[in-house]
């Protein structure tokens, strides 16, 4: 079918672009842009994980930044204690090993999502949106009040988490580590969405009541998806902390949750790859517009409004020739 080939072509092109990017920007003499690329990939990972919940599960979560932030702080706190020689809560020693910190971020993000989801998924619609926002705000204020870990000012640390055999301080190496994780997630998520779980999840979005009438309890499916997406967001947060060598409560601010939703919509709701594209476009737009005027948001705002009002399906749908459902 023509549509599938075009979409497949787009995926391959995207993969090629991701792989060739560091080489490309070095070749044109702008190697400092590699860091920008890494940021795009990380946000793409976070946005894709959100799409799992919003696009495929139909749950509009406005608190996704919370899991992102928790992952970031997992790395930051572990790094802090590694340098300090002290232990977190007197029990857990610090670490600057990626193989410790990153799984920790994943697990913590998942646990937070499990807890928040278990409570929030008892509501629906606008109540769900607000309660996820509320929980994220609570965590935001929690991290602000943790003066030991920087509070309002945030926490910086060096070096980046260490990986055996790779120099994460090298921008190019780190970029490829992130790229591997992103592509890995997209592949696994793609399989998951085609498997029984994904089918049930998509069924929940289409008609939850119907699913229950058939005998599939929607709550468990939704909670599992929510937890997984939180875990992946946690991992993305860990990567972001590494990228910037800095974490601050701003990572959990509700506008960050808004940014992630924008990336999902911009790229294409329920397309999985779209949000990565959305992240790229949004971040590049911000970067480019910021060069032109410090007031670039006055342009971005109306662009978003126009996007919602007039363009359906997101960029991925337009490029791949598929229409939004």
């Amino acid at each position: 079918m023509a549509r599938l080939t075009r979409e497949r072509g787009l995926i391959l092109a995207g993969l090629g672009l991701i792989l060739a990017y560091p080489w490309g920007v070095s070749a044109v003499g702008q190697p400092f842009l590699i860091g920008l690329g890494t940021r795009i990939l990380i946000m793409g990972l976070a946005a894709a994980s959100l799409d799992l919940v919003v696009g495929f599960g139909g749950m509009v979560s406005f608190g996704h930044a919370a899991f992102f932030g928790i992952g970031g702080y997992a790395v930051g706190i572990l790094a802090f204690h590694a340098h300090d020689g002290s232990a977190f809560l007197g029990l857990i020693p610090g670490s600057d090993q990626a193989l410790v910190a990153w799984p920790a971020a994943f697990v913590l993000g998942g646990l937070a999502a499990l807890a928040i989801g278990a409570l929030s998924l008892r509501t629906a619609g606008v109540h769900f949106i607000m309660i996820t926002l509320a929980f994220a705000q609570m965590l935001f204020f929690l991290f602000i009040s943790l003066k030991t870990y920087g509070g309002d000012d945030g926490l910086s640390f060096r070096p980046r988490n260490l990986l055996p055999g790779l120099d994460t301080r090298n921008e190019t190496s780190f970029y490829y580590v992130v790229a591997v994780l992103l592509v890995g997630f997209l592949v696994l998520a793609g399989r998951l969405l085609d498997a029984r779980f994904g089918t049930a999840l998509r069924g929940v979005r289409e008609n939850e009541r119907r699913l229950a009438a058939l005998g599939i309890p929607p709550y468990g499916i939704k909670l599992a998806a929510f937890t997984l997406s939180g875990a992946v967001a946690g991992l993305a947060g860990a990567l972001m902390a590494n990228q910037a060598r800095f974490v601050s409560p701003e990572l959990l601010h509700w506008t960050k949750s808004g940014d992630l939703l924008i990336m999902v919509i911009l790229g294409g709701l329920g397309t999985l790859y779209g949000p990565v594209l959305g992240a790229a476009v949004l971040i590049m737009l911000e970067t480019v517009l910021a060069l032109w005027t410090e007031h670039w948001m006055v342009v971005l705002g109306p662009m978003l409004v126009a996007l919602i009002l007039f363009a359906r399906g997101g960029l991925w749908g337009v490029l791949a020739g598929t229409r939004r459902s």
């Binding site: 926002l133 602000i144 009040s145 948001m297 705002g301 919602i308």
Partner: protein
Amino acid sequence: MLLAEQILNGAQFGIMLFLLAAGLTLVFGIMRLINLAHGSLYMIGAFAAAWAGDATGSFLAALLAGTTAAAAIGMLIEAAVLRRLYARDHLDQVVATFGLILFFNEATTMLFGRQPLFARMPPWLAGSVELLPGVPYPAYRLAIIAVGLLVALLLYLLVARTRIGMLIRAGSSDRQMVRALGVRIGVIYMVVFGLGALLAGLAGVMAGPVFSVQVGMGEQVLLLTFVVIIIGGIGSVRGAFIGALLVGMVDTLTRAYLPGLLKTLLSTSEADAVGGGVSSMAVYLLMAAVLLWRPRGLFPAHG
């Protein structure tokens, strides 16, 4: 007594939240529209009032400017943007109105710069009133409470006693029915939205002298306003009133007393930080608790 003062502060904050929440809950209840830009109207009211007050030296001018600007801009965005969102799903509404926030914040920065604006307090309200012997309380804050209660009364009369109020209540629970009655639903929407925008602007005008007039003030208060509506029940003005007072009280009282209480356990700077953090969290914890007990809020408008 410090406690009485704090209680009044809580009531004053609550009343301001009520002015914002009343409009928002009606808009949400009737048009099913999540409007994140409601906070921007509050900000516009505050800025317009501060600027006009500074330019003319008259509080009345400030009041007029603030409320008119908010109402006018409100109706403008209703016609240009929001009208097209009524039929769209919540996600679209959230992202589109988020875009409006970005626009208004940046536009305000372009017009007024990044420094907070000074909003003059009307001199005839600058003093204190002795409520009880030895308990002076700022007259201006009392005025806010008085105005808020007046608005609450007027809203109650409007919604409960007038024809348009009946249509609003009906529209809240059964839109099809209202349409079937031959009423132009678009007109009702415009009126409701305009009213909400006016109240938001009024809140902004009154907030100016007490809180700082700066970009971002809308978002801070918007989140609390949503919490109020969720607690009170969507679509219910009565719920907005009760919810607003609850939230105002909880927020003010925890901020006032929690750090002090924590000082017995922690060092001073830690107590301040943790106390501040927990106080900020308190309102959200309250909301989560209410939702777990009553998933539709305390006074939901429909069933």
